[in-house]
Amino acid sequence: MPEDLNWAIGGEAGDGIDSTGKIFAQALSRAGRHVFTSKDFASRIRGGYTAYKIRTSVDRVESVVDSLDVLIALTERTIHENTDELHEGSVIIYDGERTTMQDVEIPEGMVGLDVPLKSLAEDAGGAIMRNVVALGAACEVAEFPIENLDESLEKRFSDKGQAIVENNKKAARLGQEYVAEEFADTDFDYSLETTDNDYVLLNGDEAIGMGAIAAGCRFYAGYPITPATDVMEYLTGRLESFGGKVVQAEDELAAINLALGAARAGARSMTATSGPGIDLMTETFGLVATSETPMVICDVMRSGPSTGMPTKQEQGDLNQMLYGGHGEIPRFVVAPTTVAECFWKTVEAFNYAEKYQTPVFLVADLALAVTEQTFPPETFDMDEVEIDRGKVVDEDHIDGWQNEQGQFQPHFPAADGVSPRAFPGVEGGAHMTTGLEHDALGRRTEDTEVRVEQVDKRQRKVETAREEEEWDYREFGDPDSDNLVLSWGSNEGAMREALEFLDESGTDVRFISVPYLFPRPDLSEEIEAADEVIVVECNATGQFADVVEHDALTRVKRVNKYDGVRFKADELAEAIEEKLAAPAEAHT
């Protein structure tokens, strides 16, 4: 019996799809099963097709696949939207009593379970619980112990009172019993085993927020924007309980400037936004860099340009991250490749920011941000978190950084490019900071020598960081293979599973996933050792491929996807095989 299950609930936005999916995902996670979720959603509050998909297995799952075993269809459209993913024996749970669902045609070879979701929910205490009835029905189909669902329902509804919790439990059982009785003769092909494993379930945005708190971030200012808003929602309340403050600013311009002020006052400070917000922040980004203010700026990428497709996946902002802003701006660009890395790379980002006194772009993509994944809790072992605040100067040491007139030199052109920092309030440290070119004291200058000295000083930080830090990468597949695949961001998960498909068809691949985009690991040797190099990314032009070509002075093949949907393991494997078979690409 298959142990893995691909499950989905779909309907209209406003139908409670998200919370229902989350309840089931948590139930699976609590039962010690691995979970990987994905969402199809539209940029509207009510109406429009939306779906929540779960892949679950006793083994780790890293991506989505084009397959659905059980589908809860709250609308007829849900079936049409997912027809391609349904297969022989797929189970579709729907409510045939619903006016719009009465003439539903279940595709041939699939099992339609007509369950009176609404009536059963009313029996349990209210029509609103029809989704929970469906969850109960799904538990029966998948032979998943319904007790696990109870805990999730408690968590979701406990603040609404015990009566509501009990009604929901009853609703789930009515759904389960209905399927058990009415479809007793139907042989469902699933049996979801539970384990004693402990898992937590979270998405990339939440991991970034948690990483920020772990890293000692105390100040966050942001403006709501999909798909970065979850970071702010996560931090709200939680940051305050750790002595910090979340400010919802009037716009992104205010957000980054609030964060800048807090950072100047000595707080670890952060803002998060998505592409359009990054555009608005770009002017101040230059000021942050030239005033040498440590700050983490998180960009959760969505489809662009302009407002593009706010709820769809893309990795189109790399060039903006690497080159955005007028003039030449030293910056770090760190891009986690998994949900767990969203946590750890956020911690690192704060350390880089303060150690080198630069803005650090923390780049995630929508697929990473909204994907929930299970992890053993020790993945986020807080004892492993290290904080490095860099060169902070107190009263006792300030004189070492003053000039002969006793003035503090916040932009002293130190050999490593990193100058001392004195937080406001430190006696003898009063100083000016400005976006104008300045001297060591922070005062405006147009002196040619000082200009060159300060530009060189700021750039030297990057050289120092290149030497001092380990800009490593993650490697999978066959290390001796002549076929090298490179990717960044959320593609890692799909690519890891694609390796299994490729292996089955006899194609060996060495896969490198790169989490540091600037400074970044030198991959020249790895590229030279390979016969074929393919760069996989969710954009049309191959922005990372361009960078790889530039660094290694070679041509690479490209697999690009920019339809708004993340890579799926099976389609990725197919695309890579095609590329390997294709002749070398002309440079366009």
Partner: protein
């Protein structure tokens, strides 16, 4: 904080490049005097400025300071104050910086009522870009970009502040040094957002709103029966388009600053060497 701070301690050794006679000299001197007499010193003071002639102020003063981008000084100031409420935060700007490009932030800074002061050097013209109309320029004021006048009524910053829920709204005249200093001092001492619009004449590009004009027309509210704690009094003064007033126009005595309401009292600069105590609970929330 030391008690023997003099206002000259807030002066840097840089000579201002403002035009001789510029109103900003008087505005700045008043700010420095007010800071010194309210018990502040350069090491606990943070001055933020935007772009324009007013933006140069951080260079001429001595304190912790940031000279930012155009129109965004207020959010920076709020960030500083929220992250360390023990600091004295003063934001300086011009009429272009504050009422044009930064108008949105102005409204929100006023309504947030963070405990800081905001001093606007209002010369009713763009000086540093050599004489274009500003949001407070008169409707018929002829400039290089408005040869027949802007043909739009000027912004009334005091009315904006009142409408946005301002808790301290004042106006001063930079050449009336004593009054100006007193008013800025009251803005600093106010529990909340102390907003002062300062008539700070531009002697080079504005030949209408001159020192003589203000001297002749300004009405000192302390010499009238104006009650700054009376909202209706404040409203009539602010909406009186025919008069130029100086003094505290409105002060809400019940004002509680946002940082205080949020319970912010400590500097956020101190953090532990590792993850904060109890951080593992954050992970357990995801069970």
């Amino acid at each position: 904080m030391s008690s023997d701070v003099r206002f000259t301690d807030f002066k840097s050794d840089k000579q201002p490049t403002w035009c001789p006679g510029c109103g900003d000299f008087g505005t700045m001197n008043g700010m420095m005097k007010a800071l010194a007499t309210t018990g502040n010193d350069p090491d606990n003071t943070f001055v933020v400025a935007g772009i324009g002639c007013s933006g140069k102020i951080g260079t001429y003063m001595h304190s912790y300071a940031l000279h930012g981008v155009h129109g965004r000084a207020l959010p920076v100031g709020m960030g500083v104050k929220l992250a360390n409420p023990n600091l004295e935060v003063m934001v300086a700007g011009g009429d272009g910086d504050g009422y044009s490009i930064g108008a949105g932030h102005f409204i929100h800074a006023v309504r947030r009522n963070v405990d800081m002061s905001y001093i606007v050097m209002d010369n009713r013209i763009y000086g540093l870009t050599k004489g274009q109309a500003s949001p407070t320029s008169r409707e018929d004021f002829e400039t290089s970009t408005s040869p027949e006048g802007p043909k739009q009524p000027p912004v009334n910053p005091l009315a904006l502040a009142l409408a946005a829920g301002g808790t301290f709204i004042a106006q001063s005249f930079s050449s009336d040094s004593q009054r100006h200093t007193e008013i800025v001092k009251k803005a600093i001492e106010h529990d909340g957002f102390g907003f002062v619009n300062v008539y700070s004449p531009c002697v080079t590009f504005n030949d209408v709103d001159t020192y003589d004009y203000f001297r002749d027309t300004i009405v000192d509210l302390s010499e009238t029966d104006h009650d700054p704690t009376d909202y209706d009094d404040a409203k009539s003064a602010i909406l009186d388009a025919d008069k130029e007033y100086q003094g505290v126009i409105y002060q809400d005595e019940g004002s509680v600053p946002w940082d205080e309401r949020e319970g912010l009292t400590d500097s956020m600069a101190d953090i532990p060497d590792g993850a904060p105590e109890g951080a593992m609970d954050l992970v357990r929330e995801f069970y």
